[in-house]
């Protein structure tokens, strides 16, 4: 059974899953973010981990399509130019360039559309323009780049060439302040939405950093958030929040009320189906299994439920939307992307 969440104005329906656990090649390993390209292309950023020599090649960008075509991969773990150590966010500019933040190397890597490394910018520090664990990155309508500078508890704007423009925010709980912000997004008007992770809310700002409003209070109820990791906004003003600590995606309508809550509905991807075709005994045993077992968590109810029920979101770290009404949820601990559709 798949989720269909209906409000007066829209329906959000599970579509399909893209993904498969793979250290290299066709699949993902601890994906944390994705960028959308033309023609249904997805650039899925794999953080991998832990950072042992043998596992550095897990860190990469897997290029595939929303209809499960595999195109290739690029990138590698390491500290040299163009390599990743703690890759966190990825965004695509209008010219097709890809920008990847790295929270360990305190930089933003720039690649061309084919994954060729062009340059990086950024240096560690807390002065304007410097970075301390740059988490997410988003492209504003004017082509500038917004970076959530997590441990400096601020948002900074750069030109596409890495020139510092301005920033706002400091540590705190007041409006306009942040505690370890993570995801961010821009709407068509240039307003900036920030997942204020450890304050359990999403804040909205004008393009010059003026506080506009916020969504969410701490908790697991409707309208509440627990460590929101990512935020996206569509052209109708729906706000999509990866409610990471509650292992769900919460959708707020243009009126600010909760429009839908998604918990994950993953099914077998084409790549996974290929695996089971090659391993029929495993597929056979799976077919006789109850994949929705009663979970008896003693601790951290939502996380343990996600760990025990394979179809649910587990560690949703990113959510993106496209012009076709598709919603992409990066399911970091399940090595896949779950895709939903919004229907009017």
């Amino acid at each position: 059974m798949t989720t269909t969440a209906t409000t007066a104005a829209a329906t959000f329906q599970y579509s399909h899953t893209v993904g498969f656990l793979a250290y290299q090649g066709r699949g993902f390993i601890h994906p944390v973010d994705l960028a959308l390209g033309d023609g249904g292309v997805m650039y899925v950023l794999n953080r991998g981990g832990p950072e042992t020599t043998a596992r550095l090649n897990h860190k990469r960008v897997c290029v595939c399509t929303v209809d499960e075509g595999y195109i290739g991969e690029w990138g590698h773990g390491g500290i040299d130019d163009g390599q990743f150590w703690w890759p966190s966010g990825i965004a695509r500019g209008a010219d097709g360039r890809l920008y990847v933040t790295d929270e360990a190397l305190q930089r933003v890597n720039v690649f061309d559309a084919d994954g060729n490394f062009l340059r990086y910018w950024g240096q560690a520090g807390d002065a304007p323009g410097q970075l301390n664990r740059p988490a997410a990155i988003a492209v504003a309508p004017d082509g500038t780049l917004l970076v959530s500078d997590a441990l400096n508890h601020r948002v900074q704007r750069f030109t596409a060439d890495g020139e510092y423009r301005h920033g706002w925010g400091q540590f705190g709980k007041q409006s306009g302040q942040f505690d370890t912000p993570w995801g961010l997004a821009c709407n068509a008007a240039g307003h900036v939405l920030v997942a204020d992770w450890r304050n359990d809310r999403v804040q909205a700002f004008s393009s010059d950093g003026r506080f506009i409003g916020q969504w969410g209070t701490s908790g697991d109820g409707k309208g509440q958030l627990n460590r929101p990791a990512a935020v996206a906004v569509d052209d109708e003003g729906y706000i999509y929040v990866a409610d990471w600590g509650n292992e769900r995606v919460q959708i707020f309508g243009p009126d600010g009320a909760t429009a839908a809550i998604l918990h994950g509905d993953a099914t077998i991807s084409t790549w996974a189906a290929d695996y089971f075709a090659a391993n029929p005994d495993e597929a056979d045993a799976r077919s006789r299994s109850d994949l929705f077992p009663a979970v008896n968590p003693r601790r951290d109810h939502y996380r343990e439920t996600s760990a025990g029920v394979e179809s649910r979101f587990w560690g949703p770290t990113s959510v993106k939307v496209d012009d076709a009404g598709r919603i992409y949820v990066v399911d970091s601990c399940r090595h896949r992307v779950q895709i939903y559709r919004k229907h009017r």
Binding site: G19, F20, L21, H30, V32, R47, G48, G49, P50, E51, T52, W85, W86, E103, A104, T180, W182, W197, R198, R227, A229, W244, G245, A266, I268, S269, W271, A272, Y275, F276, N279, D281, E282, A285, R286, R288, S289, D290, L291, P293, A294, V295, N296, R298, R299, R303, E304, A307, G308, E310, W314, G315, T317, D331, S332, C333, R334, H335, R336
Partner: protein, 479 residues
């Protein structure tokens, strides 16, 4: 191995402080000087009570940060990730005895990743030890019997009404509660029958995945305990002289009432927290407390920490630290990894290289501890890792040590310097040979000055050099 085998002790500070430092070393993972001071102010008995009630302290306060920055420690799919997660807990816990008990029970009820291919299942088991580790032993055994990792580890998923598997029933008696010689082969068979039907969901599918180390298509799936009444043997059984239609709970109740169980558990606790060399009188005291309280581990631990045998000079600094204690304790001392850093995996690897793969013990008997932690190879690892751990002046704990040394005086001659460094590390007793080594290192430096700007950086650097020698000393290997 004791400190005083070949040399007399050089004592620093007062006896009460030394006693409380001993308590914190044994009940935790290497206290900082600040923690020792705080406990000394609180008093010994009150500190014991605080340790015995971890629930009064907050749980790991950086858990969300760990899971954010280490996605692999959110999924806990890989062994190194899960070991790293435990290191974070050891370093950052405000409930040191809870963590120490978890490590103790993990060694006693040794369950290994190597067979399960499911790291999070073993982590989940350690969470059970955190929750129940200071509670009633009956509850610990009951939770253990329901623990999916244990069910998988000792094949209880294959223990069926019509085809019993004795593996869990045997180890429950032999290794987990009573010890060999205190039960018969028939008791093993009856215990096994009592635990038929105690299994996990989707046992067939999960077994196939584990056997081929399959984490496809989407990573590991947490195992869930399931009791299947239709696969449970509810016929009459005679177990340890009593008869009835016993189930697993009844078997545990009977086990708890056995004097052998009290003695066995008391002996294990004594060996882990007091001394490698058994003292039947002391173990008897602990066993009596076990019986008196119906197997209340908290009460037994209180009895242990307040006992004369625990305070004995011969016991203090007489136990070799496990690798997890050395590595975790050094990080605590240095103040490193209080916030997620990718280098945590290096610490986990250090523990492995020293011979203790936490979450992956070598056999069902756990690790051989005590002096067996030390051989020529891993001693080098222990010394190197400790030295690297305290050499960075930017680490807040190292900075605090250096500042404390500086506070001992504007100018310190080698003897004062050595004493101030030892005090700042909380190492209040060393052998004369160790003290001689420290003085030999410091002698060429002459008097270190902290009151002159031109000498300060050099003096601070010298302190960190001496620190590296201190953690290389024999005494640092001991708790």
């Amino acid at each position: 191995m004791t400190l005083t085998q070949n040399a007399h002790r050089v004592a620093i500070g007062d006896a009460d402080t030394r006693r409380i430092a001993h308590l914190l070393r044994r009940a935790g993972f290497g206290p900082t000087r600040g923690e020792i001071e705080r406990a000394a102010d609180l008093g010994y008995a009150a500190t014991v009570e605080e340790l015995l009630h971890p629930e009064a302290q907050p749980d790991l306060e950086i858990e969300d940060l760990i899971r954010r920055y280490h996605v692999d420690q959110n999924s806990l799919m890989l062994l190194e990730s899960s070991q790293s997660y435990w290191l974070y807990r050891i370093i950052n816990t405000r409930r040191p005895l809870e963590e120490k008990m978890a490590l103790f029970w993990h060694g006693l009820f040794a369950t290994a990743y190597g067979k399960l291919n499911h790291a999070k299942a073993v982590v989940n088991q350690t969470h059970t030890f955190r929750r129940f580790g200071l509670g009633k032993f009956a509850d610990i055994l009951l939770e253990l019997s329901r623990d999916p990792a244990m069910i998988f580890w000792l094949d209880n998923k294959d223990n069926h009404k019509d085809a019993p598997n004795e593996n869990y029933g045997r180890e429950l008696l032999e290794l987990f509660s009573m010890g060999i010689g205190n039960y018969t082969e028939d008791d093993v068979k009856m215990a096994a029958r009592a635990f038929t039907g105690w299994t996990i969901d989707n046992a067939e599918y999960m077994s196939i995945r584990a056997s081929r180390d399959s984490f496809w298509p989407y990573g590991r799936i947490d195992w869930q305990f399931r009791y299947r009444d239709d696969d449970h043997d509810d016929s009459e059984k005679t177990f340890l002289g009593r008869s009835g239609t016993f189930g697993g709970e009844d078997v545990i109740d009977i086990i708890i009432q056995q004097p052998a169980t009290a003695h066995y558990v008391a002996g294990k606790l004594y060996g882990y927290f007091v001394s490698d060399r058994p003292d039947e009188g002391a173990i008897g005291q602990l066993a009596d407390e076990f019986v008196r309280t119906g197997g209340d581990i908290r009460a037994v631990m209180r009895c242990l920490f307040l006992s004369d045998f625990f305070a004995d000079d011969a016991v203090r600094l007489g136990r070799v630290k496990s690798p997890a204690e050395i590595v975790g304790g050094t990080a605590r001392l240095a103040g490193s990894h209080r916030f997620p850093e990718w280098t945590i995996v290096n610490l986990a690897m250090d523990v492995n290289f020293m011979g203790q793969e936490i979450l992956n013990p070598p056999t069902v008997e756990g690790w051989h501890t005590g002096a067996e932690w030390i051989d020529t190879g891993n001693l080098v690892e222990r010394i190197n890792a400790a030295g690297i751990g305290v050499r960075d002046l930017a680490s807040p704990g190292v900075r605090a040590i250096v500042d404390r040394v500086k506070a001992a005086g504007p100018a310190l001659a080698p003897p004062q310097l050595a004493e101030a460094c030892l005090d700042a590390v909380g190492m209040f007793e060393v052998s004369a040979a160790t003290m001689d080594s420290l003085l030999a290192m410091a002698a060429p430096w002459g008097e270190l000055r902290f009151d002159r700007a031109d000498a300060l950086a050099c003096s601070e650097s010298r302190v960190t050099e001496l620190l590296q020698l201190i953690v290389a000393a024999r005494e640092y290997q001991l708790a």
